[in-house]
Amino acid sequence: MRRIYLHPLPVRIWHWINAVSFVLLVLTGIQIRYVGLIDVIPFRTAVMLHSWIGFVVVGSFFIWFLFYIFTDKARLYHPELNPVELFRGCLRQAVYYAHGMFKGLPNPFHLSKFRKFNPLQSLTYQIVMLILVPLQCVTGILLWDLTRFAKVVEWLGGVRVVDTVHVLVFIIVVFYIPFHAYLAALGRTPLEHYKAMFTGYEEVEDEDSGAAD
């Protein structure tokens, strides 16, 4: 086993800001949407918090975006353009999670400095970071001040359309967060990947570390 530096500081800062912010956005979002059914904090406070935290996520997104665009780490988010390869890789990983893991079979994916996401992770993160988060940021900003962005909102079909997109992404995030937290606990020990996201170092087996560097 040896340690490799897999999560640089900007990525870790972004990740934990994002993680905490998304949880808070989900909670305040639920409070805003279900006021009367859930009354933990006042509606107005929830709206204010939701807006401010939303801007934190927007800022955090730019940390992530600028870091990756100005470093060679951008390779991590390069999409697999060969659909057959993409499908094969995802299927292999899904079969491992759904079957191989229970049989004690080895994980088909091996960590390396420039290959830290398995095919399923890679596809998921590309969808999350390149589609869903930007979509949520844009719709959130529009909803934050509908008067200022009235023309854009109308062009998009109206406030109800924008809000529906925002809520749909919110629903996907609600589904994604517990899944993400659970999958992160499927390392050699439940806290292995969590620790790595604080320290930056992942422990890999010797054969793994050299696999694709």
Binding site: I32, R33, Y34, V35, G36, L37, P42, F43, R44, V47, M48, S51, Y97, M101, F102, K103, G104, L105, D145, L146, T147, E154, G157, G158, V159, R160, V161, D163, T164, V167, L168, F170, I171, I172, V174, F175, Y176, I177, P178, F179, A181, Y182, L183
Partner: protein, 444 residues
């Protein structure tokens, strides 16, 4: 204004039928009408007119069976603002030599009043022009038989200075009685009655002659801001998205806290931004609003969706959209204004499912003169997935949320937590198999 085509001369010749006893008055008018006196006294000519017209029971039968009172109180007329001008100022068409013998029949009181409005306008040109731009004139043009004309509000022989500015004599309450009662009990009415002249009476908000349609949009908000100049700043201290609220929530919706609220959806032209006229050939808009044929519950979500799709079919000249506005349900309720401290300031009043504000929904199209015509709509449209696009222009967080998305959220929660829980369970159940050394390891 086709009804005004009849000339004053013809109208006044019509005095003939019931005014046989007024021949003497005509003679007197000819003798002295040109020299009206000032200071609450009348000229000799006017006195001569009044010698007949002041008599009680001088009613003139009209062609439609109505009777037109010809009685003028000389004392009141002398004190009125028109007194100094004398009878002939308005009745110049009367030929004293022939009066009252040469009077053509009058069809009815209404047509007579319509014709007389032109006489008023000959002096009161500004007011006449304003009236022509207002909702009352639009109603007259549309053939409304009770829409007010000059003489409906101003008794021409008894017009007193300041009468329209006093609560006791303001003419609006003659037609808008329920509204005036609500006003009198409101913060504005109470202050006005207490002598605070800054508190508005009817004309202060609605204009005296160019009365606008108060429910035609957010226009009334600007009227409120005319006095409450710091309203935006004061609301911005506590109300998120203040300008948005001002755009889609009428002032009374919050400042008349006991009023029942409703959502008024408005069909509008997306190019011109003006309210759209009644769609032609759409069955739901063919029957008069509120009639049995229009249905009890009104347009349902699917029908509204299809309506928009039909109106916006490929090749349609104008694209139609629906905007929405939270308002109170009646004009009387719009006047139940309270002090600011008593206004609704709890967000939960509207931003929760089942809020009172969303139990009544109408859809409006522009009627004659821009006056909105409201048709009933099922309240389900506010929470239906069909409405995501069709009423994209109105949404209140929490209050009008799409029910279908709630179902998706529950499924997401179940899936997000349930699937990992299932996986964890399966992992725990298969722990022995997973930890068993593999053949390759055993061989090694």
């Amino acid at each position: 204004m086709a009804g005004l085509g009849a000339g004053d001369r013809r109208q006044h010749r019509s005095f003939k039928a019931g005014a046989g006893g007024l021949v003497a008055a005509a003679v007197m008018l000819a003798a002295g009408a040109a020299s009206p006196a000032a200071g609450g006294t009348l000229s000799n000519g006017d006195e001569h007119c009044l010698s007949c017209h002041q008599s009680a029971g001088t009613d003139m039968p009209l062609a439609n069976g109505e009777a037109l009172s010809l009685h003028i109180s000389g004392e009141v007329f002398a004190k009125s603002v028109h007194g100094p001008f004398g009878c002939s100022a308005c009745h110049s068409d009367i030929d004293p030599a022939k009066h009252p013998g040469d009077v053509a029949p009058i069809a009815g009181r209404r047509s007579f009043a319509v014709a007389r409005a032109k006489v008023c306008g000959s002096c009161h040109t500004d007011q006449a022009a304003q009236w022509n731009r207002g909702v009352h004139a639009a109603l007259v043009r549309a053939g409304n038989p009770v829409a007010p004309l000059c003489t409906s509000c101003h008794s021409p022989h008894a017009v007193m200075k300041g009468a329209a500015e006093a609560m006791d004599t303001v003419p609006c309450k003659a037609c808008h009685g329920a509204i005036f009662t609500a006003y009198a009990a409101s913060v504005h009415g109470v202050l006005r009655a207490a002598g605070v002249t800054q508190a508005p009476l009817c004309f202060g908000c609605h204009g005296a002659h160019d009365v606008k349609v108060p429910t035609a949009g957010a226009g009334m908000k600007d009227v409120c801001f005319g006095c409450h100049v710091d309203a935006v700043a004061r609301h911005q201290e506590w109300l998120p998205n203040t300008l948005l609220h001002f755009g889609v929530v009428s002032c009374p919706a919050c400042h008349a806290p006991k009023a029942r609220r409703k959502v008024d959806l408005v069909l509008y032209n997306r190019t011109t931004k003006e309210d759209a006229a009644r769609p032609v050939g759409v069955p739901e808009f063919e029957s008069p609003p509120g009639s049995p044929a229009a249905g009890r519950t009104g347009l349902d979500p699917a029908t509204l969706f299809n309506l928009l799709r039909t109106l916006n079919r490929p090749g349609a000249v104008n694209q139609t959209g629906i905007k929405g506005r939270l308002d109170v349900r009646s004009g009387a309720e719009a006047h139940q204004l309270t002090a600011a401290a008593d206004a609704v300031s709890d967000c939960n009043t509207c931003h929760k499912a089942g809020a009172d504000a969303f139990q009544s929904v109408t859809i409006s199209v522009a009627g004659p003169g821009g006056i909105p015509v409201h048709y009933g709509v099922s309240k389900d449209v506010l929470n239906s997935a069909f409405s995501i696009n069709s009423i994209g222009g109105f949404y209140a967080i929490g209050g009008t949320r799409i029910t279908f998305l709630d179902v998706l959220l529950i499924l997401a929660l179940l899936g997000g937590f349930g699937l990992p829980a299932l996986h964890l369970t399966a992992k725990w159940l298969s722990r022995r198999a997973a930890n068993r050394p593999r053949d390759s390891e055993r061989k090694g």
